[in-house]
């Protein structure tokens, strides 16, 4: 069996994603679509895929992509609600009660903000400052000053733009020395490099790909992760990030389903929906008709930045500070 790949670069633009999706479905008559990588784009083409009975495996995080479930729409990254829950659990162990929330005005930022607002009360955490900034913001000193004025004990930033590096830099510059939590969107080493020493100690949830070297040998994902990282880095000469991993998972899930069910769209869809125990870079996938993501909360690990590198957040570190 040979798979032909047609690549369209939607450049994170929902408008482009719509026209490319229509092109792929109507003109190229493809078997399935993998991507897009951002939540805003995926939400715009979710309906299109469903209407034209096109298998879509998105590489974007927002839970709304698979909740409510659309028959033909799947996604490979972990839900953003899991990220928020892991963050709040971590805050509880650190005794943090008053937080600030920053997010960018994108689909990803908005979805994260909603999850945080919804879940915070369940963990007894109070949001005392809640600010949305423009995704093209070049400096956020005034915004972090507002957090400082509100005397937060920690803050969460939810964005995937360069702003997530700018915000931690500005916070440290004005002497806001509280713990900083980021979303799983921080899982790209270039932001750590951009923020330099300001990135040290930032805490965020992410898949295990970023810390594959430090995983114990008996971890079920270890073999897949080591292989992916090696293949990616030797081919593209850059650090592997979780984002590439999501596309890899989506592709492998599709391949596996086609191998099992043959080149029949309906059967492949059904096979994906019932796939169990598939080990990917994002975690171990167990799909069901109700769950088109298939990952659970354990697919996230709490990570931090240590000496300019990603590392698993040590358990002792959870008890330090107050």
């Amino acid at each position: 069996m040979k798979i032909e790949l047609i690549i369209k670069d939607s450049g994170a633009s929902p408008e482009k994603a719509i026209s490319f999706a229509k092109q792929l479905i109507e003109e190229d008559k493809v078997f399935a679509i993998i991507g897009p990588s951002t939540s805003g784009e995926t939400m715009k083409i979710k309906g299109i895929a469903e209407e034209s009975k096109m298998i879509l495996i998105s590489c974007a995080a927002t839970e709304a992509i698979v909740n409510p479930v659309a028959k033909y729409v799947f996604k490979s990254p972990q839900n953003d609600s899991y990220a928020a829950i892991r963050i709040f659990e971590q805050m509880q162990t650190m005794g943090i009660l008053k937080i600030g929330v920053l997010s960018s005005n994108t689909g990803f930022g908005k979805a994260g903000k909603e999850q945080i607002e919804k879940l915070a009360p369940q963990y007894g955490i109070q949001i005392v400052a809640n600010e949305v900034y423009d995704k093209e913001a070049t400096d956020l000193t005034a915004v972090v000053t507002k957090l400082k004025a509100a005397q937060v004990q920690a803050f969460i930033n939810w964005s995937i733009e360069p702003a997530q590096a700018i915000v931690i830099k500005n916070a440290r510059q004005i002497g806001l020395a509280v713990p900083i939590f980021q979303s799983h969107g921080f899982g790209n080493i270039q932001y750590v490099k951009a923020a330099g020493p300001a990135a040290e100690g930032v805490i965020f949830p992410a898949g295990r790909l970023l810390v594959v070297d430090t995983l114990p040998k008996d971890n079920q994902q270890k073999a897949v992760l080591v292989q992916y990282k090696k293949d990616y880095e030797s081919r593209f000469k850059e650090d592997a990030s979780t984002f590439g991993g999501h596309a890899y998972d989506a592709f492998m899930i599709l391949v596996k389903a086609i191998e099992k069910a043959g080149p029949d769209k309906e059967k492949v869809r059904e096979t994906i929906e019932n796939m169990q125990g598939f080990i990917g870079t994002g975690g171990i996938f167990n799909f069901s008709p109700q769950d088109h993501n298939g990952l659970d909360i354990n697919s996230f690990e709490m990570l931090t930045v240590k000496d300019g590198k990603f590392a698993v957040l040590a358990k002792q570190a959870t008890k330090k500070k107050k």
Binding site: V132, T138, D139, T141, T145, A150, P162, Q173, G175, A198
Partner: protein, 311 residues
């Protein structure tokens, strides 16, 4: 009594409010200088040609990106110098390829050409450098180095941006007021035909203005890149703010651009203090509209003079 009333407002907490006020002020100055340094580039091409170069933001991006690339091989000052020279060459090429050969082009047509050029540069940058976020190192210290006065903190890079813009404005002022070349450029702007009759090559002056503003854009891109980072598409957003500030100050006036930049930056910063951050750009755009309606010549512009201009 006074103390009690302050305490009832959530942000005013004892003595802390003076320090907060100063910190917002510092943030505003940071925004303002970034805007101003971009606005100056708009003014130079406007002064020489009467057009608004919408590719100005791309010059800023190009400067930053090229400097980051050169910095892998060269020390920082040489990398910046190299980036400025390369961007100036690009500026000259753009003018020669797209604008020079047009016979008596309308200002509007030229302006639209610059929009096309902006898109072209952006796409080339995307192909060349990808979507990655890059930055030059801080000129002094690191990302977390600050100069502190009490509880108010300012990054040394902000002082670099301020001083480099100041030096740039002073040099430009002297160049346009006292040198023959500068005066020739201004002559072309105010009356092309008359300037030509006096033996000035209008075409060369326009090329020169592109070279100059590309150079200034590139230098701006280098000094702000440690603060703002640089990406293939970061020129656009910088250009919008720079353009607002250029209009606000009065097109063509670089001194006024600095003042207008600071006014806008500080207003934005204080707006974040009292309103949700999401409204920050509403402030900027409202001010721009207000100025365009009430005082199209800009806060510092000459009303009489602006009536004679095409834009």
């Amino acid at each position: 009594m006074g103390h009690r009333t302050y305490a009832s407002i959530p942000f005013f907490d004892g003595m802390q409010h003076i320090e907060l006020l100063s910190q917002y002020l510092v943030a505003g100055i940071t925004y303002g200088t970034i805007y101003a340094v971009v606005a100056i580039g708009f003014n130079i091409i406007y002064n020489a040609t009467g057009i608004i170069n919408f590719a100005q933001g791309e010059f800023v991006m190009l400067g930053g990106m090229t400097a980051v690339m050169l910095h892998t091989l060269l020390p920082l000052p040489l990398a910046i110098l190299g980036a400025v020279i390369i961007t100036m060459t690009v500026g000259a090429l753009i003018e020669i390829v797209f604008i020079r050969w047009l016979t008596s082009p309308a200002v509007l047509r030229l302006t639209i050409i610059t929009i096309g050029i902006a898109i072209l540069i952006r796409e080339i940058a995307l192909a060349l450098w990808g979507t990655g976020v890059k930055a030059l190192p801080y000129f002094t210290g690191t990302a977390v180095t600050v100069i502190s006065i009490g509880d108010v903190h300012i990054s040394p890079q902000v002082l670099w941006v301020i001083s480099i813009s100041a030096v740039m404005v002073v040099i430009l002022h002297f160049f346009f007021t006292y040198t023959l070349l500068g005066r020739q450029m201004r002559a072309c702007a105010s009356n092309r035909d008359a300037a030509r009759l006096c033996g000035i090559s209008a075409k060369n002056m326009v090329t020169l203005s592109f070279v100059l503003s590309a150079g200034i854009g590139a230098l701006a891109g280098c000094v702000v890149s440690p603060i703002t980072y640089v990406q293939y598409d970061s020129g656009t957003s910088l250009a919008i703010k720079g353009f607002t500030v250029a209009i606000l100050g009065g097109l063509g006036n670089s001194m006024a651009a600095i003042a207008a930049g600071l006014i806008l930056g500080i207003l934005e910063s204080f707006s974040i203090w009292v309103m949700p951050t999401a409204y920050k750009d509403v402030i900027a755009i409202s001010i721009l509209l207000l100025i365009l309606f009430v005082r199209p010549s800009g806060i510092f512009g000459n009303v009489e003079a602006s009536r004679l201009k095409e834009f």
